[in-house]
């Protein structure tokens, strides 16, 4: 298992954000967490990244428990897990060119590498995410949303992670650009043997990318299973409500809808 989460508990004053969640992500697998605002999915992701200390339970990356790690050992483990955020403009330093943005993590990952070596690695990364040399000198505001997201993905890949946490990676993008990024993520997973923890509220995106799905509500994982099976035959009423809320089934279905305010 690349990621193994057991009985995870995260409390904030007055609220249990993650309430006894267990899940695992296998090598080369895409596991999707779905749920609405405040369900705890982002807190869970932050805990997996070591940005949030759990109040109970364990997180293990490639067999190594995150708890108790400090300093260099923690940094080494963190290189195994990287994140791609929803809004690429906010995730990239506006004062750095795309080239420098990708070079930055390369310096950290390869402190002994020379300029030429890093340049070669950067070129390889640019190529892998579908950007060309002309993009290297551009600042984020000179790039489109899709191009920025490609830079963010290249940055995440620069330190050689085995697991990417994808936090709503296409929610801020237009439909045509979303398709490009989904195709890219699909290809990177196959060619680089990556594993994904995908966080999304869009069940169409989830179905497209994920092998397995976990549905979160109020800190708990209410249902999990293979994506086609879970989305075709949901067992939990909340999963059914999420599916019923997907638009695109016509006006009659919208009117027949009976989901209640939660």
């Amino acid at each position: 298992m690349i990621l193994d989460v057991q009985d995870l508990l995260v409390r904030f004053p007055g609220v249990t954000a993650v309430d006894g969640v267990s899940l695992s992500v296998a090598e080369n697998e895409c596991f999707a967490l779905v749920g609405e605002s405040g369900c705890g999915k982002t807190t869970l992701a932050r805990t997996v990244l070591g940005l949030q200390r759990p109040d109970g339970g364990t997180v293990a990356i490639a067999g190594t428990p995150l708890a108790g790690l400090r300093g260099r050992a923690l940094r080494r483990l963190r290189a195994q897990v990287q994140i791609v955020f929803q809004n690429p403009y906010a995730a990239l330093n506006p004062r750095m060119t795309a080239g420098r943005l990708v070079d930055e993590p390369l310096r950290l990952a390869h402190p002994d590498a020379g300029r030429d070596d890093r340049r070669r690695r950067a070129e390889e990364l640019f190529d892998a995410v579908g950007l060309t040399g002309t993009h290297r000198s551009r600042y984020p505001h000179e790039l489109s949303g899709g191009q920025c997201q490609r830079v963010a993905i290249a940055r995440a890949l620069a330190v050689g992670p085995r697991l990417l946490v994808l936090d709503e990676p296409t929610s801020a993008l237009d439909v045509s650009v979303q398709a490009q990024i989904l195709n890219l993520l699909d290809r990177l997973r196959r060619t680089r043997g990556l594993s994904y923890l995908l966080i999304s509220h869009d069940l169409a995106v989830v179905r497209h990318l994920a092998d397995r799905v976990g549905v979160m509500r109020a800190g708990r994982l209410v249902e999990q299973g293979p994506s086609a099976q879970l989305l075709d035959a949901p067992q939990h009423p909340y999963t059914k409500a999420l599916l019923d809320a997907m638009p695109g089934r016509g006006r009659a279905a919208l009117l027949a809808d009976t989901i209640e305010a939660s």
Partner: protein, 324 residues
């Protein structure tokens, strides 16, 4: 049929760095009384500015030309007094983010009071009764609590319901909804769509529904206009446009959607981007990304042409033969 809203050859122009930019270029559309009309397209296609022009709310520096007639009255160039008279009573707006559309330092009640008494007059007590009725209509049961609350004390879904209630407070004949569900959680968004549909069928107002979400437009709209680079690429009854798109751009948008039957496949992504200077394009503005483009597309812009009696598409090679 007498149209409620007639937008004719609307162009919106700005000056940026000494050069003219035209985010809306010759858009024409109509909304009949009681009709829900979608304006769909991607970022920068001009859909929001088209909606704002109906309220005379274009940002500073924007120059609008063409014609926007609401119930026969021209909005472009109308003096503020006419616009004031039209807003609220004839046309009202529901914005994307209810959290920023309300004034954060006034209670919801104070904001209802202000709008209702400005447009309808009457006492505070009458305004409050009216506000309570409106809130019950949008399925906000605890009206006292909502009216006492400041915007930050309500959830996004409750605020958007309150926003719809406020928009309905003067019985407008037309509602402009701009990405009205985009900031909401999926189940809440669905509730708001259903609410809008119910209110529309009960009250019979027309809706200009601006959205990037094709599936949402499919569920709600009687007709849709698909915008690309400031122009109408295609228009027609929603089901016909989505089931058998005539314009290659519409087809490309639909092909790019992830769907159950496309899981595990490579999606058909639209290559390239909108030309950086659309005004420099002499032919079809979609030609550089279009799979069907031929030489003629590079040189002559396609005018909107009838596909069927109820549909038009601006394409030299519009698909007229039904589903391909």
């Amino acid at each position: 049929m007498t149209e409620l809203l007639t937008v004719d050859d609307l162009t919106v122009e700005f000056t940026r760095g000494g050069a003219a930019v035209r985010p809306v270029r010759g858009v024409s559309l109509t909304v009949a009384p009681g009709e829900i009309v979608g304006v769909v397209g991607e970022t920068g296609c001009g859909k929001t500015l088209t909606g704002l022009s109906v309220l005379g709310l274009l940002p500073p520096g924007a120059r609008a030309s063409g014609s926007v007639r609401l119930d026969g009255r021209e909005i472009i160039g109308a003096p503020p007094s006419v616009l004031r008279d039209l807003r609220g009573r004839q046309v009202a707006m529901v914005f994307q983010n209810p959290g920023t559309a309300f004034d954060p330092v006034r209670t919801i009640g104070a904001q209802f009071d202000r709008v209702i008494r400005a447009h309808r007059g009457g006492s505070r007590g009458r305004a409050r009764e009216h506000a309570e009725r409106l809130l019950r209509d949008v399925e906000l049961a605890d009206t006292g609590r909502v009216l006492r609350a400041y915007p930050h004390q309500l959830s996004g879904g409750m605020l958007q319901r309150a926003m719809i209630a406020l928009a309905l407070s003067c019985d407008p004949r037309l509602i402009i909804a701009d990405e009205a569900t985009s900031a909401l959680d999926v189940t809440v968004a669905q509730q708001v769509r259903r609410l809008l549909l119910r209110l529309q069928s009960e009250r019979g107002f027309g809706v200009l529904f601006v959205t990037h979400n094709l599936a949402e437009a499919y569920d709600l709209c009687d007709r849709v206009y698909v915008l690309y680079a400031g122009q109408v690429a295609e228009t027609g009854p929603t089901a016909e446009v989505f089931d058998a798109p005539a314009h290659p751009y519409t087809r490309a948008l639909l092909d790019a959607l992830p769907r159950a039957d496309r899981a595990g496949t490579t999606l058909t992504a639209l290559p390239g981007t909108v030309p950086s200077s659309v005004l420099a394009v002499t032919g079809c503005v979609f030609a550089n990304r279009c799979p069907r483009a031929e030489e003629t597309c590079e040189h002559s812009p396609p005018p909107p042409a009838a596909v069927t009696a109820s549909r038009t598409a601006a394409c030299h090679f519009a698909d007229t033969g039904g589903p391909a």
